[in-house]
Symmetry: C2
Subunit: 277 residues, 2 copies
């Protein structure tokens, strides 16, 4: 399913591959059918069988998540999951049409987990000044990444099977960045925002983006915030994937400082609380 959404990259022209991508398309249909089936059962709770189904599905995801956290996405094996659960590997395909679909489910879970961590960081510093709130949020994301390296790699590292995540991941992925936009919104309502300047050739793009994402915020702020968000993940990725080995040592304070700089870039202004904190 994942490898089905790869329009821009060349595929090998072997006939076997064509057959695969065709069966992938069919599988994706089957997958959404299964998903609908699951949610339909969840809502109406048809019976014991339905409950068993969502229970087994949860058990599979749990065991898969354990293996993911232990050894990473590339080492995640359907057969090992089935073995650990004491069932035949073929039985697993009743719940997930392919390994990629299981991975997609884990991707969504990881996004949700990150979103939860971001929201917790937001709530932990709810009374602080804007710059500090932003910094705490960034530190929360970083801490989550350091404690869930394989999950982080799954969602922000190399896309494992193909090069584009399916549409279903989009809302989960948006959750964390929405927290950042919320902080900006609060700052606008309270201490104030100092919108950064933007070159004129970027203004239509910024307006389009802001209209899609946060119409109540100045377009320059939205665009700069998105850039800052991506830049933060550059820092985290470098630290997590070893690019800072033997280069940056005191990474906590380094990251905190850069996150604060990013906050000011976005337009957040220091308050008394930030200065004292």
């Amino acid at each position: 399913m994942l490898s089905f959404v790869v329009p821009s990259l060349p595929e090998n022209g072997a006939p076997k591959q064509e057959q695969c991508s065709l069966s992938c398309a069919l599988l994706s249909i089957v997958c959404s059918a299964l998903a609908l089936w699951n949610t339909a059962l969840m809502s109406s709770t048809h019976g014991a069988r339905a409950r068993a189904r969502i229970e087994v599905t949860a058990a599979i995801k749990e065991e898969a998540r354990r293996q993911l956290a232990k050894e990473g996405a590339t080492k995640l094996s359907l057969r090992a999951v089935a073995r650990e659960l004491g069932m035949a590997s073929s039985a697993l395909y009743r719940y997930f049409p392919s390994r990629d679909d299981l991975l997609t489910a884990l991707i969504i879970d990881s996004y949700e987990s990150l979103g939860e961590a971001a929201e917790a960081a937001r709530d932990a510093a709810a009374d602080a000044g804007p710059v500090r709130r932003w910094t705490v949020l960034c530190e929360g994301v970083r801490t989550w990444a350091l404690t869930h390296p394989h999950e982080y790699a799954l969602i922000y590292g190399t896309p494992v099977p193909g090069y584009s995540a399916p549409e279903t991941t989009v809302p989960a992925a948006a959750r964390a960045v929405l927290v950042a936009l919320g902080i900006l919104r609060d700052a606008q309502a309270g201490p104030g925002l100092a919108p950064p300047s933007l070159p004129p050739e970027l203004e239509p793009e910024a307006a389009r983006m802001a209209a899609d994402v946060a119409p109540d915020l100045p377009p320059e702020v939205v665009m700069t915030a998105l850039a800052a968000w991506a830049q933060m993940f550059g820092l985290i990725g470098f630290e997590l994937f070893g690019q800072f080995n033997r280069v940056v040592e005191d990474r906590d304070t380094f990251f905190r400082h850069v996150a604060g700089q990013l906050a000011r870039t976005v337009g957040l202004v220091d308050s008394r609380q930030d200065a004292t904190a």
Copy 2:
């Protein structure tokens, strides 16, 4: 070999894994022996056999690089490489002790390729102002990433087998960032640098870093430049891995603007050439 340098992440405690990591250690010794053997042959050119060896090694790497560019690191298969080269898969192990070692060779090649692109970008804008030179360098790196997505993913995405690259990749990895530091050095000698301010708790760290990397540059500049460098890769990674899909459309001008902002963050100052360009 790669999976041998994973001290921080938990491994599964199965005995088979221990045996594997042990054999990995042995293999890494064999690998360095083979590497020394290769270079020794290259320098003294013992005979036709030695030449054939380096030729076959190059052919393997070439075919592997082709498969890497076509389908990505996870799909790279030793057997497929051997098949394409018309030799038995087992014969390939005479040249690379394991798949990871072949990947390591490709990683180094990718770093060198990126370094070349960075140097070309530097030379292409040798006469421009500091901000423009930095921006052109960033655009060069981005263009390389967009044209070599799988190579980029190999070196800046998720580390494929383990979580830390072997030491041999370090000099190759440094090549690109040294170009950035060179631009800063030129700016210091010519148009001038405006070193950014740093909180006092980061000054010792910055001093240590600068002493290691670029003793002739102000520590604040070195530290901020490294942060900016990492941030740039955050932008590139987001674009390349689909995080900007349906969010950022005009990515060229977006990236150019953010790269210019990063240049000013580092301490580079606009010149007349930058303003007109």
